[in-house]
């Protein structure tokens, strides 16, 4: 009872990264709260799910398996979560801040009258004192998120209502196997008891999902270009460098908006969050919305012709100069000095 639930997002039988990241976070929260971590999978042909998730420290996996439950539609998935949460009374429920989680989460929260905080960047456990009411709440979920276009960070709590619900974007939390041999229990729901035929009011008649070829998140080195790169052609220099040293190319929103790079490369608050071994920021000023997506990189090199660019404050190495001068020198040295 009062466990932590993570909703698993599934595409073609594969659990999404964002869900695995939430399981990792959920495991550490469950350890802190001394409760169980539960996962719920709703879809069709779910036999392979256990194998994919138990090693993340899942204690209980609930399966709602029915042909009609895949692909995702709002009402049937909502109906299952609402009834299950009424029965199980979780204290915390987490889902991805994806087009599924942001369709499902608000509907479930409305039905249960529980608060929901979207797009959290950090989740912690802590106490809360309501001075007006003179009440102290122990072990609440601190739902921490940027607000006002990233200009402030707010900590949100739900003192009274359960579950405490939050969504988190892909890439914001780390994904880590807890124990390769961890084995939890599997429960199967009798789907007919949870969903009624009237829930199937929206039908998916066509679907084209692309598997993203690009996986910036996984790259240990990222060379990122900003508006200072100047053009799409000039971005080729970054691609050359990336090719030579085995890196991926990222971009700031200003570079994406200007058409220098594709949207899927955008790093930051409204793009992906990355934490590579090395991040080279080229012609990027370092506004908070960008920095929010890369500040946890192990090492940061900033190349900028403005000695006072804000990015310099968080960089380990600051090269004050022009990108088009510095990068070719780096390529040249690398080629000469490695096999």
């Amino acid at each position: 009872m009062n466990n932590i639930f993570v909703y698993l997002e599934i595409e073609d039988g594969i659990v999404a990264d964002v869900s695995l990241e939430l399981l990792t976070k959920g495991r550490s929260l469950a350890n802190q709260l001394k409760c169980k971590l539960e996962a719920i999978a709703i879809g069709s042909q779910l036999d392979g799910i256990g194998e994919q998730v138990f090693s993340f420290g899942v204690d209980v996996l609930t399966l709602a398996d029915d042909k009609k439950l895949y692909p995702y539609t709002s009402l049937p998935h909502t109906a299952i979560l609402v009834k299950l949460f009424k029965e199980e009374q979780p204290q915390i429920a987490l889902m991805g801040a994806t087009s599924i989680g942001r369709d499902l989460g608000p509907r479930v929260s409305s039905a249960l009258f529980s608060g929901l905080t979207a797009d959290c960047t950090s989740l912690e456990i802590g106490d809360h004192e309501d001075k007006k009411e003179g009440k102290v709440y122990k072990n609440l979920l601190y739902q921490i998120r940027p607000a006002f276009g990233g200009n402030i960070v707010a900590t949100i709590v739900n003192p009274e209502q359960r579950p405490q619900m939050a969504t988190v974007r892909e890439g914001v939390m780390k994904k880590e196997i807890a124990d390769k041999h961890y084995k939890g229990e599997t429960k199967k729901l009798d789907v007919s008891k949870y969903v009624s035929s009237t829930d199937f009011v929206v039908n998916v008649i066509e679907r084209h999902m692309e598997k993203s070829k690009l996986n910036i998140k996984a790259s240990p080195i990222i060379i990122s270009g900003g508006y200072g790169i100047g053009s799409r052609e000039n971005f080729d220099l970054l691609f050359d460098f990336a090719h030579v040293i085995g890196a991926e190319v990222g971009a700031s929103r200003a570079a994406v908006d200007a058409g220098f790079a594709d949207h899927e490369r955008q790093i930051g608050q409204t793009g992906v969050t990355v934490r590579p071994k090395l991040y080279i920021a080229c012609g990027i000023s370092g506004q908070i919305q960008h920095v929010a997506g890369m500040q946890e990189s192990s090492m940061i090199i900033a190349i900028n012709n403005d000695p006072n660019a804000p990015i310099n404050a968080i960089a380990d190495y600051v090269i004050t100069g022009n990108v088009e001068e510095v990068i070719p020198k780096m390529i040249k040295y690398y080629k000469k000095n490695t096999k």
Binding site: S110, D119, H128, I156, N158, H208, I301
Partner: protein, 290 residues
């Protein structure tokens, strides 16, 4: 038979153009320094509604917004673009509402309309980026929902077909009316103001605005009822005060912090060959690259 369409629109502070004076010294937001604008995706929603009106004869588009008195501005903006009428939900009792309390108030207001076929919202508002109000309103009035819409392909008395744009692809879905739809920014931009409509509606006012105005003006409104922007308070929408405002909001803001990044001690390098080469030597030697 036309459609009765309601668009939910919000006036928001322009968080995309945050100037230096937008943050106060204590780290809180200086709302006064931010311009109030029509939430961008709500304009995309309005355009979808107007396209349905163009396509299905006899359809009407009503704008519903909850906010302070000045939010009447976005209702006028909608009338200039082709909306038929507007409703401003305004009351002290709404202050401090989170998304759930906002959705409750909006859902009560919607129940006030006689018969609605389609509700169209923006996907999210840029002040909070939550994308919650649309689905929560749908749940509260017991309607199904289609979120992330890029285009409403078809909408007749029985059937609605929508193209959705998701982060990893597209989906075409089909359902029945009534339906609540939320619209993405990838949908077509809203048409500009129409000069004739601007002339027609520039004196459209709420009752509070009228009371602040002069006598000539009040006569004008009596002659031309379309200049009336409906203003509703809690009493008009039969809402339960326990579910509104701070009281009706399960989420509380515990703390707000200004964003400050941990400055690192950085090594400063010049673009000279010597500096670049020694940096590269170090990176290769410690296996950061290579």
């Amino acid at each position: 038979m036309g459609l009765k369409i309601v668009v939910l629109a919000k006036q928001v502070p322009d968080t995309r153009n945050v100037g230096k004076d937008a943050m106060k010294a204590d780290g809180t937001v200086n709302r006064a320094a931010l311009a109030a604008i029509f939430n961008p995706e709500d304009l995309n929603a309005l355009e979808q509604a107007l396209r349905l009106k163009d396509k299905y004869e006899g359809s009407t588009v009503s704008i519903l917004t909850m906010g302070p008195g000045r939010a009447a501005e976005i209702i006028r903006e909608s009338l200039y673009r082709g909306a038929d009428d507007g409703f401003l939900l305004t009351d002290r009792a709404f202050a401090g509402s989170d998304t759930l309390a906002t959705s409750y108030a909006l859902s009560c207001a919607i129940k006030n309309f006689s018969k609605v076929d389609v509700i169209i919202c923006g996907r999210q508002a840029i002040d909070g980026d939550t994308a919650q109000v649309g689905p929560q309103v749908a749940e509260k009035i017991g309607w199904p929902q289609i979120t992330y819409a890029e285009e409403i392909l078809e909408c007749t008395s029985q059937k609605i077909v929508v193209k959705r744009r998701l982060e990893k692809g597209i989906e075409i879905v089909e359902g029945k009316l009534p339906m609540l739809v939320t619209v993405n920014s990838s949908a077509p931009e809203c048409r500009p103001r129409n000069a004739k409509l601007v002339m027609k509606f520039k004196h459209a006012k709420t009752i509070s605005e009228k009371q602040a105005g002069d006598q000539d003006y009040i006569d004008l409104v009596d002659e031309r009822p379309y200049l009336n922007i409906n203003e509703w308070s809690v009493n008009e929408i039969q809402a339960d005060a326990n579910w509104l405002g701070l009281k009706g909001s399960p989420t509380k803001v515990k703390e707000i912090e200004n964003v400050v990044f941990q400055a690192k001690e950085s090594k400063r390098l010049s673009p000279d060959d010597f500096d670049i080469e020694s940096l590269m030597r170090e990176l290769i030697a410690n296996h950061t690259i290579g």
